[in-house]
Structures are given as C-alpha cells and as structure tokens.
Amino acid sequence: MTAYVLHLAILAGIYIILTVSINLIIGYAGQVSLGHAAFYGIGAYASALVSLHWHFPFPAAALTAMLVAGLCGLALGLPTLRLKEDYLAIVTLGFGVIVDLVFLNLEFTGGPDGLPGIPPPSFWGIDFRPPWLYLILVVVTVILVLIFTYRLVDSYHGRALRAIRDHEITAQVMGINTPAYKVVVFTLAAALAGLAGSLYAHYITFINPETFGLHTSILILAMVVLGGMGSIAGSVLGAVILTILPEMLRQAHAYQELIYGGLLMLLLIWRPEGLLGRGKLSLKFLKRES
C-alpha cells in the first residue's frame, strides 16, 4: 500500500512539472501546445539513450534531456509562433504525431518495443532506487521548478508575457519583442517537459512510444484547465487531482477519456477560470471586452 502511494506521489510530481511547464505556454503566453507529450517523450528518450549508450550519470542525462527537448521546442517554435494561436495548436498536434512515428519507426529508439533497462539514478554516492528516495529527488526537482516559474512569472519578463497574452498588439506597441518572448517561453516549457521525461524514464526504467502519445498531451491540457490556466498553484492541484482520480475510479477506466473530454468542455463553459481561478492569479483575461 505504501509502495503504491509512493508510486502515485512520484507520478504526480512528474505531472506537476509537465502541467506547470505547459501552463507557461497556455496561461502566460496565451498559446496552445497540443504536442507537449512529444517533448516529454523526447526528454525521456534522450535521457535513456545517453545513459544506456554513453553511461551518463543522471544529472548529466537530465540536462541532456532538457537541452534536446528545448532545442526541438526552439526549432518548432521559431517558424510557428509568429502566427495566430490556432496554428500553433495544430502544428504542435502534428508535431506530436510526427514524433510518435519517429519513435515507432527508428531503430535506435527500439520501435514499438521501446527501450528497456534504463539505469535508475545513482549519483553523489546515493542510489535512488528505493521509491522514497526517488520521491525525494522528484520533490526537490518539483520545488526547484516551482521556484523558477514563480520567479519567472513575477519578474519583468513574466509581466511582458501576460501583456502579450492579454493584448499582443498593445504589448508590441509598448516595445515588447513578442515573437522572441513566445519562442523563449515555448523553448523553456519544452525543456521542462524534457526534464519530466527524464525523471519518468529513470523511474519506470522502461519507455515505449505509447506513453508519449496524444492522450498524454490531452491529459496535461486537462490538468491545466482544471486547475485554472495562468495559475501555478492551480496547475499543481490539477495535476494531483487528475493523477489520483483515475486511480480511485479504477472500475470506470473505460470512461476516463470521456470524462477528460467532457471536463474540458464543461469547465470552460461553466468555470473558465478553473478550480483555483479566483485566487491571486485569476483569468479575467479570458473574458474579452467587446
């Protein structure tokens, strides 16, 4: 039982990183990414490959994961972020499909069988194999990510991002380089998703393309919308709820996706600000003056 709780806690931590990272794109820059699981997957594969072939220690593997995922985010963001938000949604969705196919078809990613035998992290003389130690590693990472994002969104740059979200033209007139901001935040979010992928790969020690498909992207999106777009505390809450809820509703497994889809629609119609939306970081921007 304790082992199971620990397992859920570790997964929740990984989802918190994913949700917080995509919230930077959705809630702060006002863009949509529907392929976030692709960056998660790229991070997981990059981290697994460098550990398996070149025996990178975990911190170096995690950094590689962030770097590779971030570079992919940069490559995708540069051409598309100049365009309207809807385009980004489709392009990221397509990117997710492409990455999935790449994982499935390439030889060194193991195809549909994936990569087994990824070494669990072990550095500074500590072996992180026991779940409670791994949980500590995840919690420390989550705290670092949260500190980073809180500092980011409360800084000059965070205010610039929110200005872009609320009214891009006005932001431009105020001298904010809007495409650059969007590309940088997209790259950062991709890198954070890569970090989450690395944590996942070295915890489960086995990865295959199935984990990083469209349903994971949608799940992350549901977590953000549930907690409230533009609220970091909301993202944490949304990630925790949607990690635990499916476990409590095990019998209703077949209804999971139905529930996520319905949740996205109904929440937006009845409470577009999400569960924590009325907190400090509210989403009044959703209601456009017209």
Binding site: I26, G30, Q31, V32, L34, L76, P79, T80, R82, L83, K84, E85, D86, Y87, A89, I90, V91, L93, G94, F95, V97, I98, L101, V102, L104, N105, R165, L214, I218, L221, V225, M229, A254, Y255, Q256, E257, L258, Y260, G261, G262, L263, L264, M265, L266, L268, I269, P272, F285, L286, K287, R288, S290
Partner: protein, 287 residues
Amino acid sequence: MFFQQLINGLTTGSVYALIALGYTMIYGILGLINFAQGEIYMCGAFVAVLLLATGKVNFFLAFALGMAAAALLGVILERVAFRPLRGFHPLVPLISAIGASIFLQSLALLLFGPNDRPFPIQFTFSTINIAGLPVSTLQIAILGAALGFMGLLIVFVRYTTYGKAIMACALDRDTARLMGINVDRMVSLTFLVGSALSGAAGIMMAIYYNATYPRMGLLPGLKAFSAAILGGVGNIPGAILGGLLLGVAESLGAAYISSGFKDAIAFAILILVLLLRPQGILRGRGD
C-alpha cells in the same frame, strides 16, 4: 506505378478537401478551428454503416441520413461548445473544441467498441482503362462524388441568398448584422453545411478503406486542416486545391520516400507552408 499513386492521392485528397471545406468555412465565419471536425466525419460514417447493417435502408438513403446526422451533430456542437464561448479569448473555444473531440471519440468507443466495421454492402467495382492506364471505378466514383459536392457548395455560396449571406458574415460580421442578416443563424447554417460535407467524406472513406472505427476521424481531420492551411484558410477554392495537393503529396511520399512516415508527410508540409508562405497558396484570411 506513378500514375496509380497519383490516382490514389487524388482520391484521398478529394476526401481531405471535403473536410477541409468544413474547416475553412467555419474558420471564415467564426475565426475558430473546429477541432471536432474529424469526429463529425466519423459520425457520418457510423450512421450510414449502422443503417445499412440493418438491411432495410437503401444505399442512397443511408448516405443522405449519414450526412444529415453529421450536419445535426455539427449544429449541436456549435450550440453547446462554441456559442456560449463567443467573445472569450480564442484559446477558450479552441480547448473546448478539443474537449468535444475527445468526448465524441470516447463516446463512440464506448458505444461501438474499438474494432473496425466493414462496410455492410458490397459494391462490384472493376478496373477500367483510361488512355491505357488502369483505374478502379471505385476511385472514379469517389472522386466524382467529391467533386460534385464541391461544385454544389460553390454554387450554394456564390449564387444563393443564404450562401451570399454566409460570405457577408465571413467578410464582416458586424456589417452583415447591420444589413439585417441573422448572424447566429448563418453560423448555424455554416456548421450545418460544413458538417454535412465532412459526413459525406466519412462515408466515402468508410467505403474506400472498408473500415469504420471510433478513431477514424483523427488523422483525416488533422490532415484536412493542414490542407485548409496549405490552400489558404478561409478560402474555399484554396481548401479544394490544398486537399488534392496534400493527398497526392502523401501518396507519392509514401510510395517513394517511406511508408512508415506516411502520416508525417502532411504535417511536414504544414510546417513548411507556415514557414514559407503562411497565407497559403491562394491567399486566405488566416493571417
């Protein structure tokens, strides 16, 4: 070989074009991507297949009812998932549409199960020779029907009062309202027409691939959207051209480059178009 792939590409491309028309019309009038377009396509196919499986309905009635069901679903979707969110940040209806898409897909999965259903009636198609090259009559039938629907749509938009009213709303919603056009009704009508076309596309693909299943709309929906962008989103001839080009590119790419990456070709083209010519081949209203 080349010619065969070209015909294959034109056949699937004409189906993409039909779905792309729905995207483009809805984008034109609301500035919204209806993510659930692929599920409307799936709904049309399922209704036709289920009706035909009863054995009591003839093919053309089933086809018409499939289109009608798709149209109805489109109109309901607009009322439930989009209309309450008009005037919000564009992200909100977009995410709501994604929710609707997932919801409908999993609903179909629960109702009909994950397995492929074959098309209930068998057509006897032969291969005929056109200028010495073999072509399946099924492909000719699909291509012909798709082009017929496109022609009807263009006539509807250009020469009927309602069609012109839709174009007026797409040009400028506020001015259209001042001219006495009921904008809400025109939006519903756009969803009705666009969804009926997607429904027809779904039925044709159900015949062509002889498979109907809950997730069948996902990839064609996404590819059709890429086609709409390729042609210039909001532009009706552009959507047709984009669909056909994309179908051909995909078919040739699968034959000559790699069949494992067949589904990636459409998105690679999409990213390239956005990079090089974001307004599409024929100029659209998108950007």
